[in-house]
Amino acid sequence: MTTPLLELIDVRRQFAVSAGLFRGSRTLHAVNGVSLELRRGEVLGLVGESGCGKSTLGRMLLGLLPVSAGEIRLEGQPLGSTSTRDLARRVQPIFQDPYSSLNPRKTVGAIVGLPLAVHGIEADAEARRKRVRETMERVGLPARFFNSYPNQLSGGQRQRVAIARALVMRPEILICDEPTSALDVSVQSQILNLLEDMRREFDLTYLLISHNLAVVEHIATRVAVMYLGRIVEEADTADLFRAPRHPYTRALLASVLTPEPGLGVPDTHLGVSYPNPIDPPPGCTFHPRCAAAMPACRTRAPAALADTRGRVECHLYDNAVS
């Protein structure tokens, strides 16, 4: 089997969180033992509710945040042995909010060209400008925006700038953290189409972090579902949407409001709200919200069960328990 492009092995990340004045600090396990593979050419969707740790995971893959334990490997090489410089040439981010992720004082040309300058690629200024213009054209930004400032652009155009900035280095992997959730629907579809075109053209591999399951279904080839710092289910997109296994995945899918009149608003039966990650429930962390919870779920954390369809972390599929 070929080496995955990116591999996470039992990755953990903790934060010390102040519990209040004079109470010292407590540990928040934002990412709590994630093992995951990103294979070349695929689009892996990472879904989950806010606070589940998906953005923390993305930041670790970008090298913006060190891991507390475990290992991330880029083509078999531990991330720690790669310099951030080399990592940045191969892995690039696209963030959610194109209003805050672009420097308002720099022109579009300077923003897109900055990675080239930092990495000393195309030392000749004219060659650099040419490459910036080419990249801008690729993502559908007219050359006349070269000297424009971000505040002169619409949200969709800004997100195109962010995509151009990520692509100008010709990276292999893009970590897209909610790339369209700040955009209008007509602009969202343009950006999703563009991401798909760019992936084909540049042979890219995407990690798409999103809470919008319809977007994930459209663009991802494989989906990992995250809950309280762990991947609770992983499967090919078609399998996951056709036959979700984990009760949490089922509830997430049931919450998707497709534009079909007459179906009404689903009742997800997720009565209890998302637990405080500082105080995760014992056993399976999902059991207080789970309609199928069994006694074992309250005391024992389920192990990951891998099979041909993917992976699921739930006692329902563990023959020893159920």
Partner: protein
């Protein structure tokens, strides 16, 4: 039966250095008790300003004019600020998008809930507290009594939005206006909040004016839908009809843009609407969607089209013949 809310010719103009921005350009709305009307459109289409105009909460620079505005049989175009203040939070209530910024961070949940009740109904503080407690429980907040003394920053986004809903319900409004009430929330919480809103609507018989850009929400929640573009309603109709035979090119474009699980084959392309909204500033002629419309002809640049009835309650502002 007369409508709960009847609005004709609602206009909102905002002076800008480039000329007057016609943010809302002659919108007609009608809503019955117990009915849900969704205003749908993209940023800048005037849907939020329409709602603020009805509530009398427009920014100072904005000018409102309306040829007819009745609410529960009362004529309101010339209502004094004092009369509007009596109605707001009492007979008509509003839920805003951002529960983080629309709650007062320095007031406890209990005080914020009780303020409106005491202002409109008076009575004892104890009675107001009892009402607040009852409504927090009604919107599904566990441990409601302990929540009354908490502050907004101690609550999650979903809880804050429930508090906002409880606050809007304090005086049993006849009309509830909800502006993107679930946009900042997770999908699971969104489903819960919308479920709750529909349930409360059935219970209290409120008219619900829901403003959203999410066609999924519209399909599941609305009785009737009005699609807005550049300050105008371009298409309107009962929800099943509008989704079944969308007739305005903009409505069709919007429906093609959204990814729907299972609709496209892997790698298939989403529809797009080319171009961007041009803000309705200055003297406007013709259809404002024409520069993004695949069916635009010369006449679209010169003639303004009226909403015309297509039958079955559907209205269309376009020269095109409706979808078959």
């Amino acid at each position: 039966m007369s409508a709960l809310l009847q609005v004709e010719g609602l206009r909102v103009d905002i002076p800008t250095p480039m000329g007057s921005l016609h943010a809302v350009r002659g919108v007609d709305l009608a809503l019955e008790a117990g009915e849900t009307l969704c205003l749908v459109g993209e940023s800048g289409c005037g849907k939020s300003l329409s709602a603020l105009a009805l509530m009398g909460l427009l920014p100072r620079a904005a000018q409102r004019s309306v040829s007819r505005f009745t609410f529960s049989g009362e004529d309101l175009p010339a209502a004094s600020e004092r009369r509007m203040a009596d109605l707001r939070g009492n007979r008509m209530a509003m839920i805003f998008q951002e529960p983080m910024t629309s709650l007062n961070p320095s007031w406890s949940i209990g005080n914020q809930l009780e303020e409106g009740w005491l202002r409109h109904r008076g009575g004892s503080a104890a009675a107001a507290r009892e009402r607040a407690l009852h409504l927090l429980e009604r919107v599904g907040i566990t441990g409601a009594a302990s929540r009354l003394g908490q502050y907004p920053h101690q609550l999650s986004g979903g809880l804050r939005q429930r508090v906002m809903i409880a606050m809007a319900l304090m005086c049993e409004p006849a009309l509830m206006i909800a502006d993107e009430p679930t946009t900042a929330l997770d999908v699971t919480v969104q489903a819960q909040i919308l479920h709750l809103l529909k349930e409360l609507q059935r219970e209290f018989g409120m008219g619900l004016l829901l403003i959203t850009h999410d066609l999924g929400i519209v399909a599941r929640v609305a009785d009737r839908v009005a699609v807005m573009y550049a300050g105008e309603i371009v298409e309107e109709g009962p929800v099943a009809r509008l989704f079944g035979r969308p007739s305005h090119p903009y409505t069709r474009g919007l429906l093609d843009c959204i990814p729907v699980p299972g609709r496209l084959a892997p790698g298939g392309r989403l529809g797009t609407i080319p171009g961007v909204v041009s803000p309705p500033i200055g003297a406007l002629t013709g259809c404002q969607f024409r520069n993004r419309c695949a069916f635009a002809e010369d006449i679209c640049a010169t003639r303004a089209f009226e909403l015309r009835a297509l039958g079955g309650g559907q209205l269309l502002r376009c020269r095109l013949e409706p979808a078959a």
